[in-house]
């Protein structure tokens, strides 16, 4: 019964969260982070308000953890749509139905080309002061530290290869 009540609360949260996210997306021009975080906070507050007089409100802590899980899945879905590397190879076939390998390399990411994605990611790493980027790329101290951490995490998860 408790389980169903938590699922009910989190379902209510999900509906309000998605409606608010779309409302903010179409009505305002906030940054991507605010577009997601603001609906998350608001929908949790709305859920607390709606259940304030009910016994179910005691389950809000458990429901909040599930809501956080839903937020992670939702953000990952949005990131996949925006930044998905493999997905972008499929969407390169939007304009042309048939592509040679070289055409695919050129048409990648709406005609920006495969090299663009590398430069885009390098630009991101450079902004975060992880690498020094000129014609050559080199790790900064922060980058070296993070790389050690990433190698350690890959060992913990027993990841041997790259996908």
């Amino acid at each position: 019964m408790t389980f169903l009540q938590i699922i009910l609360l989190s379902s209510l949260f999900t509906i309000i969260f998605i409606i608010l996210h779309f409302a903010i997306l179409y009505l305002f021009s906030f940054t991507k982070t605010i577009q997601t975080v603001l609906p998350f906070i608001l929908s949790n507050l709305i859920c607390i308000y709606l259940t304030r007089d009910l016994v179910i409100k005691e389950l809000f802590y458990s429901s909040f953890i599930i809501n956080l899980t839903i937020l992670i899945v939702y953000v990952e879905f949005l990131l996949l749509m925006k930044k998905g590397f493999t997905l972008s190879i499929i969407t390169s076939f939007k304009k042309k139905k048939k592509l040679s390998y070289n055409e695919l390399v050129k048409n990648y990411a709406d005609g920006r080309g495969a090299k663009w994605i590398l430069l885009n990611r390098l630009g991101g790493l450079s902004k975060l002061k992880i690498i020094k980027l000129n014609k050559k790329i080199k790790l900064n101290t922060l980058g070296s530290f993070l790389s050690i951490l990433l190698i350690f995490l890959r060992k913990v998860f027993a990841i041997k290869d790259f996908g």
Partner: protein
């Protein structure tokens, strides 16, 4: 204490699976996470009966799944580890030609061909029926979220 023990058990089983299975891909890890989540919650439902354990396991499983996905597939992670292991600065163009195109781009194209999203036809690549279906879904989702292009 129980939560820490569960993390430890999760990692040990994962290590054993990666050693016993010939290739331990992201898909296999995904199946492992789902099976782990279901089994833990069955045990919880039958013996422990702790609702917080269920919510914690949901958050843990999803977080670990996406963390693993990043460590396994992310281009930025790949670049950083490559740079760290090389211990020297690398020319961008050389890195693109020798590393990125061969080990990232070509690899993803091969995965799409192997999984039946793309088909090879007279030195050209075309979308399979499955690929066309996914392209339609991606188009609708990207329009809904006002995403002009991905990459």
């Amino acid at each position: 204490m129980l939560y820490i023990l569960l993390i430890f058990i999760f990692l040990v089983i994962n290590l054993l699976l990666s050693n016993f299975l010939k290739t331990y891909t992201y898909e296999k890890f995904f199946i492992y996470i789902v099976v782990y989540f279901v089994l833990i919650n069955l045990v919880n439902l039958a013996y422990i009966k702790n609702i917080n354990l269920f919510t914690y396991q949901a958050l843990f499983s999803v977080s670990i799944l996406f963390l693993y996905s990043g460590l396994y597939r992310s281009i930025s992670v790949k670049i950083m580890i490559h740079l760290y292991l090389k211990k020297a600065s690398i020319n961008v163009d050389n890195f693109y030609k020798n590393e990125f195109k061969k080990n990232s781009f070509d690899k993803r194209v091969k995965i799409l061909v192997d999984n039946g999203f793309l088909k090879k036809k007279n030195k050209h690549l075309i979308l399979s029926q499955r690929g066309k279906k996914y392209l339609k879904i991606f188009n609708i989702a990207q329009q809904m979220y006002k995403i002009k292009f991905s990459g």
